[in-house]
């Protein structure tokens, strides 16, 4: 048994490493003008949404707290990251109508003394900063709302996300947030390139994939720790959990804050992938989409959320695109396959999953469970 566990974690580790290597290699060979670049877009956006979905799953799936405030925390993360990575030369162009109040750029600051290592470190610090900012607001919001039950909690968190969005668009905060206007020119994936000797190494896709991978590993570790088990106990039966000495308020708050942290990180990634950050993009609809990804993958399964997000992004951005442009599966029907049809088909698929495959793709299992089940079956056969 113990040996099996070890084996599984080794296999997972090697698979992750191989995956990262593959992404790095793809990054070097697929240029933006390449037809297959859609794959890279899917990998970039997919990893953003994968982290968002996994962090939402931590709350909705593992702790049983139905929260719909994810877009709000992603917004905080995106803005924090963007504000702290705009180079000073571009600051005034970006804040064209305001006198920017914050003029620190971590990557710039550190690269002055440390070169490109400083840039990397600066980006890392900004990403962590983004997570911390989101976690801080998550904590503040958690204080009043975590006492609420199921759907009241959902609607209250949804409300907070809307309030956050309004605050970030407020003209009076313009010197910090640039009002309702978008932030750009900060450190984004297209700038993640490094010259080593004569070769230019590209990290545009590698970086978001790496951040998502590391973050998801941390979440998986948390879920499998004693705290993660306590979360699941709260989800399964709050009253029993409390009777067994689990402090509900504290553990709900931990889950909510950690989830906000990683939502913030995914928001920062969203900013670097899209190369812009703007409050009006972080609407409730974004939360709904992430929720549907979680459902697609299976509520309570981390690997499910990851698979769900990549499928969601790939299907909606790539595979089903033909449905919008007149030709799909070789059938030409411009009258039917016109703008918007893709999303209709897509939402029908989602509804089918919601109604008939309520457990999603993975149910509550993980990919590693599939290994184990096989092993078990083999053992039994012997």
């Amino acid at each position: 048994m113990k040996q099996n566990e070890k084996k599984v974690s080794w296999i997972s580790f090697l698979l992750v490493l191989a995956f990262l290597g593959l992404v790095f290699w793809l990054d070097q060979i697929i240029k933006p003008t390449n037809k297959m670049y859609m794959l890279m877009t899917v990998l970039q956006k997919g990893s953003v949404y994968a982290l968002a979905a996994v962090s939402m799953n931590l709350l909705n799936g593992y702790t049983g707290l139905f929260s719909l405030g994810h877009a709000g925390f992603m917004l905080i993360g995106a803005y924090t990251y963007a504000i702290f990575t705009i180079p000073s030369s571009a600051r005034d162009t970006v804040y064209q109508y305001f006198d920017a109040a914050i003029r620190i750029s971590f990557p710039e600051l550190l690269s002055n003394s440390m070169g490109s290592a400083g840039t990397v470190l600066g980006v890392a610090i900004a990403v962590i900063f983004a997570g911390l900012a989101a976690a801080f607001f998550g904590y503040l919001i958690g204080l009043p709302v975590l006492r609420l039950k199921s759907d009241y909690l959902a609607i209250a968190t949804l409300g907070f996300a809307e309030i956050i969005r309004a605050v970030f668009q407020w003209q009076k905060l313009g010197p910090i947030t640039n009002g309702s206007n978008l932030l750009k020119n900060f450190m984004r994936t297209s700038l993640f390139k490094l010259k080593v000797g004569d070769t230019k190494l590209v990290f545009s896709t590698f970086v978001p994939v790496l951040i998502a991978t590391l973050s998801i590993i941390v979440i998986v570790k948390l879920v499998n720790s004693t705290y993660g088990r306590a979360f699941k106990a709260i989800r399964d039966d709050e009253v029993a959990a409390e009777a067994m000495g689990i402090n509900l308020a504290k553990h709900k708050m931990i889950s909510f804050t950690v989830s906000s942290f990683f939502a913030g990180v995914s928001g920062a990634m969203m900013a670097m992938v899209l190369s812009i950050a703007q409050a009006s993009n972080f609407k409730a609809a974004m939360t709904y989409e992430i929720l549907l990804m979680v459902v697609l993958g299976g509520i309570g399964s981390t690997s499910g959320s990851v698979i769900g997000s990549f499928l969601f992004v790939a299907a909606s951005e790539w595979w089903l695109r033909g449905l919008d442009s007149g030709k799909f599966l070789g059938i030409e029907a411009p009258g039917i396959f016109r703008n918007g049809f893709r999303l209709v088909v897509f939402s029908v698929i989602i509804m089918i999953v919601v109604l008939f495959f309520r457990k999603g793709i993975m149910g509550e299992r993980e990919i590693s469970d599939l290994f184990r089940e096989k092993k078990k079956a083999k053992g039994a056969a012997r």
């Binding site: 240029k31 933006p32 668009q169 299907a315 595979w319 030709k327 703008n339 698929i349």
Partner: protein
């Protein structure tokens, strides 16, 4: 039952994946990066009309001695800044030589980095915010800019409309209306302006109209999307606004004319083109619009020309000029020659400055005739 459903779903996805691979065509592709849905969908469609008409008139181009078919490749940026980069990437992956668009500044700004990263040149048609081209070496544009337009409008409000206090209304998070309002306020004087922003999804404009009335303003400046415009006009009518409405180039659309017809609201706009300036062109495009049901629908059901359509038409020819000058369909080559391209278009002479902005120094001012539902020419305005 469940299993069959599951299999069907999987099959659909796999088949769709397989269908992604399609054959190459020996043509030159021009990307059309325009909103076809969302707030600016109607405007985007009108802008595309001009390109389609131009493509119909001149379907081929001779590049380096070879005749190429010109194919327009469309991508809908859905008027949404977060969808814009993906739509732009879609065009780039499709192998376009250059891109035209977009209507609405925000999406252009949002996508500028994607174009820059790929080295694919883009020509903005009616995106007037300075940020589109600032700091982006691959973005050019053939329209005037908001600082210019804002100043023109402010001067017009002061001198022609005799306004002393202006009410400015923009949409939250919209670079076009926000930017234009900002430059208008700069020119008009901050102390004489009331500036408000409405959140996305607002449908109740009556309060904003009341605000303008209560604060004793005498011009209502609201360069917002045509969607909001129609509602503002309707409310201005029922609430007897009592001051002229002023707006920028987006309002030069028959959506506005339809909404304003039969009301007693005074509407003035600045724009790129006045119908009738080129009779031959007008007649040709009107005939085409009337003969093509889709085009007619996209133009809002009648053949009233929007300036953005004409701008779209000119942009297409600028693109052809660039291709000819480059002598290649390679985006890099096109980018290299683009700064030097000039073209005598229907909307006037087009040339670029150092930043990539059009050298334009005049704008048309038009007023809506609410009885006949057409635009009346007022003046040509310049700043200087």
């Amino acid at each position: 039952m469940k299993k069959i459903l599951a299999l069907a779903l999987v099959f659909c996805l796999v088949a769709a994946f397989a269908a992604v691979a399609y054959a190459d065509n020996p043509v030159v592709k021009i990307g059309v990066f325009e909103p076809q849905s969302g707030d600016n969908g109607a405007g985007g469609k009108q802008e595309v009309l001009g390109m389609q008409y131009a493509n119909k008139m001149t379907p081929t181009v001779e590049i380096d001695g070879v005749t190429y078919d010109v194919q327009l490749v469309f991508a809908d940026n859905a008027s949404s800044n977060d969808k814009a980069p993906t739509a732009a990437q879609d065009l780039i992956s499709n192998g376009v030589s250059l891109v035209l668009g977009s209507y609405g500044s925000g999406v252009s700004i949002a996508a500028s980095d994607t174009f820059l990263n790929a080295g694919v040149p883009a020509i903005g048609v009616t995106c007037t915010n300075p940020q589109v081209t600032a700091g982006c070496d691959v973005y050019f544009r053939i329209c005037f800019l908001d600082p210019f337009q804002g100043t023109v409008l402010a001067n017009f409000a002061k001198s022609e409309l005799g306004a002393s206090k202006a009410y400015c209304l923009a949409k939250l998070g919209d670079d076009y209306s926000g930017g234009l309002c900002n430059y208008f306020i700069d020119a008009f004087g901050k102390d004489n302006c009331v500036y408000e922003q409405f959140p996305e999804g607002t449908s109740d404009f009556s309060t904003y109209i009341t605000n303008a009335q209560n604060q004793g303003c005498d011009v209502f400046f609201s360069p917002v999307s045509t969607e909001a415009a129609a509602q503002i006009i309707a409310k201005a009518d029922t609430q007897a606004l009592g001051m002229p409405i002023l707006a920028g180039d987006t309002w030069d659309s028959n959506v506005i004319l339809n909404a304003a017809k039969g009301t007693d609201v005074r509407i003035c706009v600045t724009t790129f083109y006045q119908e009738g300036a080129n009779a031959e062109f007008d007649a040709g495009i009107k005939e085409w619009i009337n003969s093509d049901a889709t085009a007619l629908a996209n133009n809002g059901g009648n053949d009233e020309l929007a300036a953005v359509t004409v701008m779209g038409y000119d942009a297409y020819y600028v693109a052809l000029e660039a291709l000819k000058a480059a002598g290649s369909v390679d985006p890099e080559a096109v980018l290299e020659v683009l700064p030097g391209v000039t073209y005598e278009g229907v909307t006037g002479n087009i040339a670029f400055d150092d930043i990539g902005d059009a050298l334009r120094d005049s704008a048309f001012v038009k007023e809506c005739n609410t009885e006949t539902g057409v635009w009346d020419f007022v003046t040509v305005a310049t700043v200087g």
